[in-house]
């Protein structure tokens, strides 16, 4: 697990801007200078109408895309001018992703899917790492299903595998894009409960993009994005 300084700052956006088609007549700015801070243990819902820039922001925070202007600090590191290799390494170690459509690698079984971020970073997993993967699968309620391929699991089970995979590197920040959007309400509640649980146990910050008002209401803090600007940031604790 990464150790942080006293400030416990996981993420800081400073005047973050993103434009598409830069330099062309069709240039359009999607994010107009965002400032935001995320602390350890934050549990934040990011809401906004479609087209408000949620996905763009999530891709920037996930280091999958690069801002046009401003800076994005992840664990205190300025990331805008990082080269691809360093950005990839930082993404692998500091961020866990959960996508709407579970997105497992079909060729691998549940356990290997969970271990994939570790294997990509360090090669053949150690016994300790395999145990960690098994434990995580057990914690998401999938003990005994380690050898199942994704197509032998239900949608809810697959999404729980994805949650375990996102957490196996013990990331400082968990990004979830409509993680329950594709699940029935029971499974959705289970997955959400997992986020809560790992937020408490591991202390990782959770940023959850959602349309679901009931879901965002259960988060500690809600950031609302309107037309590429932060419209409101409610419930932000004055201290972490």
């Amino acid at each position: 697990m990464r150790e942080h300084d006293a400030a416990q700052e996981v993420l800081r956006l400073a005047g973050l801007r993103k434009s598409y088609n830069v330099g062309k007549p069709t240039e359009v700015e999607v994010l107009h200078g965002l400032d935001l801070r995320l602390q350890r243990r934050d549990f934040v819902a990011l809401v906004g109408a479609s087209g408000s820039g949620k996905s763009t922001l999530l891709n920037l925070i996930g280091l999958l895309d690069q801002p046009t202007d401003g800076e994005l600090f992840l664990l205190g590191e300025a990331t805008r001018h990082m080269d691809d290799a360093r950005r990839t390494a930082l993404r692998g170690s500091a961020i866990g992703f959960v996508f709407q459509f579970h997105h497992l690698i079909q060729a691998f079984n549940a356990l290997d899917n969970v271990l994939m971020p570790l294997m990509v970073a360090t090669g053949k997993p150690s016994r300790e790492q395999v145990e960690r993967g098994r434990a995580l699968l057990a914690q998401v309620g999938l003990a005994g299903l380690e050898q199942r391929k994704p197509d032998q699991l239900s949608g809810g089970q697959q999404q729980r595998v994805a949650v375990a995979r996102a957490l196996v590197t013990r990331p400082a920040l968990l990004l979830a894009d409509e993680p329950t959007g594709n699940l029935d309400s029971t499974s959705a509640a289970e997955v959400f409960a997992l986020f809560r649980k790992f937020n408490r146990e591991f202390g990782c910050a959770v940023l959850l993009v959602t349309h679901d008002g009931r879901l965002s209401a259960q988060c500690d803090r809600t950031v609302t994005l309107v037309d590429g600007r932060i419209d409101s940031d409610t419930g932000a604790a004055p201290t972490a």
Binding site: D65, F97, Q106, A107
Partner: protein
């Protein structure tokens, strides 16, 4: 282990696309089998043809230069019209052939030297008459050039003291058996009766019908060339260097030296064309195998775009992504060629066992190894384009890819 994750992902991907992998493996296997079999067949065939050709002839034949007319130079200012008839080439000895023989013996590339006196004669038995070629040899030296004793089918190879060895066809034509007498007529009243000590079969009808082996002395007497040798047969270590060695001998001795490649120019030409067409076929088969691998992997990259995006989001580097697809290409090439090498080997074995049995195809054990190596490299090269595309995918777009 280096590239462990690339290998792991690559093999899992291949295993997941079983049908696709199997089809392309069979495709590669067929291609490699064709190349291996064809190469082995043509190499074997050519080796066999050369061996047969050279089994009954020396690599280089040294002879006296042809006799030419000497024409008196015209006086200054005069115009001379000459009607020239080419001179008849009478049977002549090589001047100082013993010395030439000793010089040739010292040449480094030369493995055997055999002086021969050869000329025409008639063989007679009762009413039957056959024209033959008298071959007067130094038995020990000659056998290092043409292992004639291996081709003796009756009696023994023994010449000298009135003994001769003749071909199977001549024996049949004259109704001769080992121990029978044969009258040889060298013309102008020179004749002698010899004893048939052995009968050989070289497998070349012309030779089997015409060659009569004698001791040099006896042949010299019959041809009225005492102490002579009309030609010197030479073999070299590397048969394909015969031409250079022949040129060297010609320069060194001033005699006419012809290599087997000159006397068999048409054969050489045919062999060369055959090799060329084999290579062309191999290249085009290899090309279509390479295109097959490239297209299968290109489809795979498109099919796996989303998974590639997820892997990238999980921290997989561009280089690792590149590696995953290069490894797939290498695995295709390697396992396909092992399959094909085995099949090619089987085909060669089947040809040797059930084929027309005209000749035996030896399999160079390096051929399958070389084929496997080449196919692996081909696989990697073919995978380069799809692999680069996979590595260059934008993760954001890839993850959204339906």
């Amino acid at each position: 282990m280096p590239m462990w994750i690339e290998w792991t992902i690559a093999t899992q991907f291949l295993r997941e696309d079983k049908a696709q992998s199997t089809l392309i493996l069979v495709g590669i296997g067929v291609g490699v089998a064709v190349i291996v079999f064809l190469t082995a067949l043509i190499t074997g065939l050519q080796g066999n043809i050369i061996e047969r050709t050279l089994g009954t002839q020396a690599h280089i034949r040294v002879q006296p230069t042809e006799e030419v007319n000497r024409i008196l130079a015209p006086a200054d200012g005069a115009v001379q019209l000459v009607l020239e008839n080419k001179r008849a080439q009478r049977l002549r000895s090589i001047n100082n052939w013993q010395q030439v023989r000793d010089v040739l013996d010292t040449l480094p590339q030369v493995s055997a030297v055999s002086p021969v006196i050869s000329g025409p004669a008639f063989a007679r038995r009762g009413e039957a008459l056959e024209s033959v070629a008298l071959i007067g040899i130094d038995a020990e030296r000659y056998q290092r050039i043409i292992p004639i004793q291996d081709d003796v089918i009756a009696g023994v190879f023994r010449i000298g003291a009135g003994d001769t060895v003749i071909g199977k066809q001549l024996a049949a034509d004259l109704g001769l058996r080992v121990g029978d007498k044969l009258r040889l007529d060298g013309g102008q009243g020179r004749d002698s009766v010899v004893n048939v000590a052995g009968i050989f079969e070289l497998g070349v009808r012309e030779l089997d019908a015409r060659y009569v082996y004698l001791d040099m002395k006896q042949a010299q007497a019959l041809l009225d060339l005492p102490g002579a040798a009309t030609l010197i047969d030479v073999t070299v270590d590397d048969i394909f260097s015969a031409q250079q060695v022949a040129a060297r001998i010609a320069r060194l001795t001033g005699l006419k030296a012809e290599s087997w490649m000159d006397t068999n120019a048409q054969l050489m030409n045919a062999l060369r064309s055959q090799s060329l067409s084999t290579q062309m076929i191999s290249v085009f088969v290899a090309l279509s195998v390479a295109l097959g691998i490239a297209s299968v992997l290109s489809v795979s990259v498109v099919q796996r775009t989303r998974e590639i995006g997820i892997l990238r989001a999980m921290g997989t580097t561009r280089e690792q992504m590149l590696g995953v697809f290069l490894v797939q290409g290498a695995l295709f090439g390697l396992s396909g060629s092992l399959l094909g090498g085995l099949a090619g080997w089987g085909l060669v074995g089947a040809f040797n066992t059930f084929g027309p049995k005209l000749f035996y195809i030896p399999v160079d054990p390096w051929l399958p190894v070389a084929a496997a190596l080449l196919a692996t490299v081909t696989g990697i090269v073919s995978a380069a384009i799809p692999a680069r595309r996979a590595a260059g995918l934008d993760p954001v777009a890839a993850i959204r890819h339906a």
